[in-house]
């Protein structure tokens, strides 16, 4: 599913974000990427959806050789991924429904399928009743649930999230994690970068700790392991 071998990332300003990372993540896994600020977590996530290219090493995602992907192939790589950010990234002038439907419209899905799928994923995140609301009228947790609905609406095989609970209070964070757990149970691989100790310790999943761009620990049912 995700396969990295000897991956390094050095930004053009010379800062070494990742060095010699090797990891395998299988279908259906639920993985936390943890580590202190500046450790390289976001860079790790960005490599997966080819926001950044690895400087060296091998990287396969869903069977695609991401390091050598043609630019024209990138959209098709991303159609197999659902991406969730800390800052939600919703369009303020579109309703909840339209925000989610947008992800299907821009890959030219048939209209009837869009309606069906959007209602289905809004049910899944518990926001069907807010379909006509605008993001500005929703709480942070609700906005993140809309973003998650948008991320999964195209049936990705992997959902990747960078600090998805970073802007949320503990109770709301926990709700979000329950939704991710449900998505993962249905067979979707989850990769989540976070430095939220409570979330990691509570979920008891595989934890990959990165420190100064290197893997410091890779452990099933792991703990956060830092003072956050």
């Amino acid at each position: 599913m995700i396969h990295m071998a000897g991956v390094s990332k050095i930004y053009s300003n010379g800062s070494v974000a990742l060095s010699d990372i090797s990891v395998a993540i299988d279908k259906g896994d639920f993985v936390f990427i943890v580590g202190p600020s500046g450790a390289g977590k976001s860079t790790f996530i960005k490599l997966l959806f080819r926001e950044e290219l690895p400087t060296s090493g091998e990287l396969y995602v869903n069977g695609r050789n991401v390091a050598e992907l043609e630019p024209s192939e990138v959209p098709y790589l991303r159609r197999g991924l659902g991406i969730v950010f800390q800052d939600f990234r919703l369009l303020p002038n579109k309703t909840v429904y339209e925000n989610v439907a947008f992800a299907m419209e821009v890959i030219e899905s048939p209209r009837r399928e869009i309606q069906k799928r959007v209602h289905h994923v809004l049910d899944l995140v518990g926001l069907r009743h807010k379909a006509r609301n605008y993001p500005g009228h929703l709480s942070g947790g609700e906005q993140q649930r809309v973003a998650i609905a948008r991320a999964i609406v195209n049936n990705p095989t992997v959902v990747i999230a960078d600090e998805p609970t970073g802007n949320l209070d503990p109770d709301t964070s926990w709700e979000i994690m329950k939704i991710f757990e449900r998505i993962n149970k249905a067979g979707t691989t989850m990769v989540m970068a976070t430095h939220d100790k409570m979330v990691v310790d509570g979920m008891k999943r595989r934890v990959i700790a990165i420190e100064q761009g290197r893997i410091a620990r890779d452990q099933e049912g792991g703990q956060y392991g830092y003072e956050s």
Partner: protein, 295 residues
């Protein structure tokens, strides 16, 4: 491409045109101005060319005879002219015929001739045609040497001047057109850049969820094309109005000036300008997308 997708592109394009109000108007105006000037030069150059070649194809030598020749002498001059190399046709025009033709060419203004009373100032003449334009000059010189010939004239100088003028107008026009096309390109790409900037969040999300670059580009491309097309249409309307007015005036006042008839000439010019405008629009938005959005 699916019908619904096309609808989506056009809706997006129009919505950002509205959103950009003033910039859109500025872009359309610049394109209109550029194409208007381009069109004016085009029409001018083509007309000058047309005039020059019409005149050239009509080049003939007018041989004016001395006033006191007898019929027999006139006939002799005619025969000698026929023997000059290159001469293909010699027509005798007596002074009465010449006056009648002159009246006809003056059309509505023939009242001017009233001052002449019953006198006829025009001489007897031969009209001589040659086979090739470059033979006109030597033939005219040969004719002028003949006994009984007052003088021999031809329009070579006017034609040469016309061609020189055409070349000059073409050069100035070309420089101006290149400059204005660049200005139009610049302002359209700026307008699109504003749209791209206003929509950067949307474009970002489109990229994350796997929209292709082509899909992201289309609405902007359409927006640019609409801007260019609208500018071109304005330029075309103005040009057609102006040309109609001008030809009307010229036909009334300057009877001899051979202008290209309005149709289908203006149809071709219009098509050319509209294609040019649309291409400039598309190019402008492509530049913006490449530079500012990397899509």
């Amino acid at each position: 491409m699916k019908v619904r997708t096309t609808e989506y592109f056009i809706r997006e394009a129009f919505s950002s045109l509205r959103h950009n109000g003033l910039m859109s108007i500025a872009s359309v105006s610049t394109v209109a101005l550029s194409l208007l000037i381009l069109g004016m030069f085009l029409i001018m150059v083509l007309n000058l060319n047309h005039m020059a070649s019409t005149l050239e194809s009509q080049v003939q030598i007018s041989v004016y005879l001395q006033d006191n020749l007898k019929d027999q002498e006139i006939r002799e001059v005619g025969t000698r002219i026929t023997k000059i190399p290159g001469v293909v046709q010699v027509t005798f025009v007596d002074k009465d015929q010449a006056l009648a033709r002159f009246k006809q060419r003056l059309g509505e203004q023939q009242g001017l001739l009233a001052v002449l009373g019953d006198t006829n100032p025009l001489p007897n003449a031969f009209e001589v045609k040659v086979d090739k334009p470059e033979r006109v000059k030597p033939a005219a010189q040969a004719v002028a040497q003949l006994k009984g010939v007052e003088n021999a004239r031809f329009g070579q100088e006017i034609i040469e001047q016309l061609f020189t003028l055409t070349k000059m107008v073409r050069l100035i026009g070309l420089a101006l057109i290149v400059f204005l096309a660049l200005a139009a390109l610049f302002i359209i790409s700026n307008t699109i850049r504003i749209t791209v900037f206003a929509r950067r969040k949307e474009i970002g999300i489109m990229k994350y969820v796997g929209a292709t670059d082509a899909f992201i580009r289309w609405p902007f491309l359409i927006e640019g094309m609409i801007l260019g097309f609208s500018g071109a249409v304005i330029a075309v309307v103005l040009l057609i109005e102006a040309y109609t007015l001008l030809t009307g005036q010229i036909y009334q006042k300057l009877v001899f000036l051979p202008l290209i008839p309005k149709y289908p000439f203006l149809t071709y010019v219009s098509i050319l300008l509209i294609v040019a405008g649309t291409v400039i629009g598309a190019l402008g938005s492509t530049i913006s997308l490449k530079r500012f959005m990397k899509v």
